[in-house]
Amino acid sequence: MIAHRVQRDLARAISAVENGHTDVRGALAQFAALGHAQRNGARADVIGITGPPGAGKSTLVDRLIEGFRANGETVAVIAVDPSSPFTHGAVLGDRVRMQRHAGDRGVFIRSMASRTAGGGLAPATRDAVRLADAAGFDVVIVETVGVGQVELEIVAVADVIVVVTVPALGDSVQTIKAGLTEIADMFVVNMADRPGANATALDLKHMVREGAREIPVLQTVAQDGTGLPALLDALAAKRGAGDSNAVRAVRFEVVRRARDAAVRAALAALDSDDASAVLDGLRDHTISRNDAVDALLAILGGPAHAH
């Protein structure tokens, strides 16, 4: 059980990081100063749940919470839904499927809007996981936004990644395309009571058989809990198997941070006086679009960027 006061202060610490009032180190220090930090250093098992919109990720998370709680483990969930690129607003609806756990002090559920991030998570998701870990949760489940083929940031956060799919989203060629299928530690074909589930599972099994790693392919009906015991067993086996994803996760995170820093630098450079002069020229038709791009890249970092 995690005390109400700890839950409240964890929620506030996540907001502080999410809104840029402090960084994760500051938030962790403050959390410790309040006497809430149960431990420092990663100990919670972090499970990533990803897959296309409407595949049943939130319903599956609800069932996983149930399973871990039955085992006496405390669970934090960080569930990400998309922000509008136009208004920055968001509707965060993942809790709807998990609300029966809202009264359980062993469960903490936090929705996050993806804000500016495009990789399936929010900028503060990783920090929220660290804070939930510090609060003493045994398991942290991260649910990504509904993803397509290229939103892979979950690899930088989760120890075990479950890719959830549903029957009839495509033929076997989809299973050999790059991206989402490469990051799975296990596949779940959810809504397995629908036509085509066996064929989808078979396509995935054929694909998996060609690879070097052992990747289970499971079938579930999250709605009624069918297949959940097998999924919990598969997760337990992966959780005990060491951190084979660590190198990939660290590489990915380093690239992400470097890219974020580069983007911030570019945005700052676009606000400079030199850049405004170029943009004014563009508006007045004294410079072409291509020349404007080259001129702005030169302002940003010299000719190396201009190509």
Binding site: H4, R5, Q7, R8, A11, R12, I14, S15, E18, N19, G20, S83, S84, T87, H88, G89, A90, V91, L92, G93, R95, V96, Q99, A102, G103, F108, I109, R110, S111, A113
Partner: protein, 141 residues
């Protein structure tokens, strides 16, 4: 940073069309809206509000049970030592209950005639005056 709002539907009232329209309108106004679905107990609403650390809880209630539900929500927030989350009410609420709800600490009551624009402006105004950031700044000072 965006205003974060929990849109909650307590009790047995099974109509959430209005709540969904509100959620969508607040989204389009640039807010982050957590929706929890139907049939929520005050305990579930308060726990969700705390875990989500929202600025505002908007409770939509059409069933007439508001004088039962709101005292419980306000009591639970005090019990959990959360005094910086603003609570507003919406739905079908008799005029003579409005002062009673305000006395409980409900900051605003939007009746069925309120437009989505009224809601957006009302929430923005209340958050600016009484929101958690204002409250937390005061607590730190």
């Amino acid at each position: 940073m965006p205003i974060k709002v929990l849109v909650a539907k307590p009790g047995l009232d099974g109509h959430d069309r209005g709540a969904k329209i509100v959620a969508r309108a607040l989204r389009d106004a640039g807010m982050e809206v957590v929706y929890t679905g139907l049939h929520q107990t005050p305990e579930m609403i308060v726990n969700a509000a705390i875990q989500e650390d929202v600025d505002v809880v908007g409770v939509s209630i059409l069933s007439g049970a508001h004088m039962t539900v709101f005292p419980k929500i306000m009591d639970l927030l005090h019990e959990r030592e959360v005094d910086d989350i603003v609570v507003v009410a919406g739905g079908v609420i008799q005029e003579n209950d409005v002062p009673k709800l305000r006395a409980l600490g409900v900051r605003e009551v939007f009746n069925a005639e309120a437009s989505t624009q009224d809601l957006i402006e009302g929430i923005e105004r209340i958050v600016a005056a009484h929101g958690r950031d204002a409250a937390r700044r005061a607590a730190q000072a």
